[in-house]
Symmetry: C2
Subunit: 353 residues, 2 copies
């Protein structure tokens, strides 16, 4: 192995390093800078290789690979979704990812992405709302107070200045956990017994529920004029949150239509229904919010480019904060064609030792 160039080595960000990195940078700064990186990549959306994620379904869930490339860098995320996992103390969703040099195929970063996905999902939601919600939005309802809820709250405060949260979950313990975690940050928090209660006076409705089934969390009577709906939890086939009536009254914005039609809330609509790609709004070639009466809806499912942006952002930060270890991941023989000779030299070294 060449020690000077260390071609064998890939930087690895563990869960512990990711937490420390986020905390050293500061959660608000991290979310804001991450959103800026995502925005940068959405602005150059057409240069990316795009494909719906590649899923492998089993009885209990799905494992997905989400690759993309801008021609210079390549990234992919591995992510699972297993709703029953919480029964034995596991996460419903875990993830890790790799960023690589597209020019030579060598990985540049291997990182945990369970925490990073929570952050990028929240950053993307808040970024979309920056373009789609009414500019003076201050109050957000959060329906579903599980693992994603606090990240949504933090991102919406960091990017939009959301101050009042109206929390609701079918499990009051989840709401209490969310309130407890967000206490002391200056939010005005109202715990609500019903969806109807939670949406009362909200400028933005965020739905982040976890049921894997066609559910109607938000019904027609919950949604008044001018609302922005941030629909995060309807994110796989058969899993929806927003009633069809609400969808039909809304202008709908999506990440990558071929994937959203499969996974998003719009799977309830005929394929002819018009949707707008979010990147076009950011790039200025499509209209976002037209007026204060319009209902806007971001049908978020999570797309590979957001993970690519997140890995790109983290790669820039870990060098500065030294939050990584080095993995001996890539065979690096003295002579590239002599992979077998590397084994022989290792054998010799073991005999000598």
């Amino acid at each position: 192995m060449t020690v000077d160039r260390k071609l064998n080595v890939v930087p690895f960000v563990s869960v512990d390093h990711m937490m420390k990195l986020v905390l050293k940078v500061g959660i608000d700064t991290f979310l804001a800078e991450l959103a800026a990186t995502i925005e940068e990549d959405f602005h150059r959306w057409p240069v990316f290789d795009k494909t719906p994620r590649v899923g492998s379904h089993s009885n209990d869930g799905v494992i997905e690979l989400m690759p993309t490339s801008d021609g210079t860098l390549y990234g992919f995320k591995y992510v699972n979704g297993h709703p029953k996992n919480t029964r034995d103390g596991r996460q419903t969703v875990t993830a890790f990812g790799v960023l690589a040099d597209a020019g030579n195929g060598y990985p540049l970063l291997f990182s945990e992405m369970t925490i990073l996905t929570a952050l990028r999902t929240a950053a993307t939601s808040a970024l979309a709302a920056k373009y789609l919600a009414r500019p003076n939005s201050r109050t957000m309802a959060i329906i579903g107070n599980g693992a994603q809820s606090e990240f949504q709250a933090r991102a919406f405060r960091a990017l939009l200045g959301i101050q009042e949260l109206r929390l609701h979950d079918i499990d009051p313990a989840a709401t209490r956990k969310c309130t407890r975690n967000l206490t002391g940050l200056g939010f005005h928090i109202v715990e609500c017994k019903s969806v109807a209660d939670a949406v009362e006076g909200a400028d933005i409705i965020t739905t982040v529920t976890a049921d894997k089934q066609y559910a109607t969390i938000v019904s027609d009577n919950h949604v008044g004029p001018g609302i922005h709906i941030n629909a995060v939890g309807g994110d796989c086939p058969g899993k929806t949150e927003i009633s069809k009536e609400v969808l039909l009254r809304s202008d709908i914005f999506v990440e990558y239509p071929p994937q959203t039609w499969i996974e998003g809330d719009i799977q309830q609509l005929p394929a002819s229904h018009p949707v707008t790609e979010l990147w076009r709004v950011m790039a200025g070639n499509a209209v976002g919010r037209r007026d204060d009466k319009q209902i806007t809806l971001f049908d978020s499912v999570g797309f590979a480019i957001e993970d690519f942006s997140a890995l790109r952002y983290v790669r820039g930060k870990i060098a500065e904060f030294e939050m990584f270890t080095e993995l001996d991941l890539l065979a690096d023989p003295d002579e590239p064609r002599d992979l077998y000779g590397m084994l022989l030299r290792c054998e010799h070294a073991l005999k000598v030792a």
Copy 2:
């Protein structure tokens, strides 16, 4: 993080650990046991989720993801192919992979696969030849004496008892390297100045050249009756090694037809040309070699199931030989829905420290 169950941890096999594992097990035993594991999985071929690999092409090469699942386990490999990499001392092909529990989506193993891919490719070649070459085969020509050549030689000796090697490469230095690496193992090695010279008297012709272009390494006049051709190097679009005339005289065996039609030597043939899936020969529902005059050709491109088998085999071995470290890869909050709370507790711990 729960320390007792260590749900956050994934075993990691570095390059160094992989080399030591292979050497401790013994190269011949490793190749034979790996081939047996691949054979086991080929026998239950229909249970696997199958898809052609998902590639991202750039000017200089390709990065591919190769996923598969048997419903209980899930595996994928990341592999690049960048022919110009050797110019600056990098490997043309590097790889790593993950085996996961399909039932909960949690990774069970993260492993280097550059060395492991070389071993599994050779093991698959020899396994195919066990079914397709004449039973008394003793002499093999190896055309292309790069990184894969010695692994092929070792696997064919371990599984078929190949004793005489006839080596040829357009670069004589590659042949010398191959001879040097294989000296002392009891092979009778003949260095040959041409392909015509190398194939003289060979029972098996193995082609493992690296050019990314339509090349004709093996022509019609090189191939006599009864030969088995192990065509390994024609493995991506536009990259072939075997002349069309030879293909038309051969009975062709492939791994997964939808992928081989894109990547293999058969990309030169009309899609109506008959090919036989190798697993059917192993399972006994298709005929392999009929007689001693027949020319058989294994158009090897490498399929995800072979990598799955390799990861499955390595997973069984690392526990026994303790050849792994533990990576803190999966966020494991005290309460599954409280990912954000895990960040808060880390913040608290940092403040206290």
